[in-house]
């Protein structure tokens, strides 16, 4: 079984409700992530709740790169 990173994200400086997405890699600050076709730069990321086996729970603050 591969690790799953469940990301709660919010987007700075725009009216956007934020979202939740699963990734199969661990994003770090500076990475670009694709959430539903929206490219975001991760500005800050931290563990939201402790990991459970191969599931990791993170919260990211992001900035839009392109729509």
């Amino acid at each position: 079984m591969m690790a799953t990173y469940k990301i709660s994200y919010i987007i700075q400086d725009v009216e956007h409700p934020g979202g939740i997405v699963n990734l199969n890699y661990q994003p770090v600050a500076g990475d670009t992530i694709d959430v539903g076709g929206l490219l975001l730069e991760v500005r800050e990321i931290f563990e939201l709740i402790p990991a459970n086996n191969d599931f990791y729970y993170l919260h990211a603050t992001c900035k839009i790169i392109e729509a």
Partner: protein
């Protein structure tokens, strides 16, 4: 990735063994959706829940607002429509597809409940995971509220 591998990596089914995952896979029906399609409609009665296996959807709530307000975007791996399974109430929100080629796995509540009757462990594990998922969504909402 085949369906079994797909659902093995979905949090909702975390803790189930391979035989139980195969039983879940047997009641999943795959559905492809296009951008703008409505998956569920607020206040309607729902008899199925969904797992987004590819793409993304937007959750909209009308509540007291004159127009529906977007409250969250949900991407791959997220569960939609599970509240009706838990509380049997009408849909709490409308869910609109954000991307072409979005794919969901559809599970009818009756099929899932029948499976739980056959194997109580499936119901115990999945209901616990649904509670954890709803808790995660609430934590997300708290953080979004803090942003404003």
């Amino acid at each position: 990735m085949n369906l079994l591998e797909l659902i093995r990596n979905i949090e909702l089914f975390r803790g189930l063994n391979t035989e139980e995952l195969e039983a879940i896979a047997a009641i999943c029906k795959s559905r492809n959706l296009s951008k703008g399609e409505i998956l569920v409609t607020e206040n309607e009665i729902g008899d199925e829940f969904y797992i987004i296996s590819q793409g993304a959807a937007e959750v909209l709530v009308r509540a007291a607002a004159p127009t529906p307000q977007s409250i969250i975007h949900l991407g791959s791996g997220q569960v939609v429509g599970e509240m009706a399974l838990v509380d049997k109430g009408p849909r709490s929100a409308t869910v609109k597809v954000l991307q072409d080629n979005t794919r969901v796995q559809v599970i009818h509540n009756a099929d899932f409940k029948a499976l739980c009757e056959e194997n109580k462990n499936i119901g115990y594990v999945v209901m616990g995971n649904i509670a954890a998922d709803l808790s995660f969504k609430l934590r997300h909402r708290n953080l979004v509220s803090g942003k404003r």
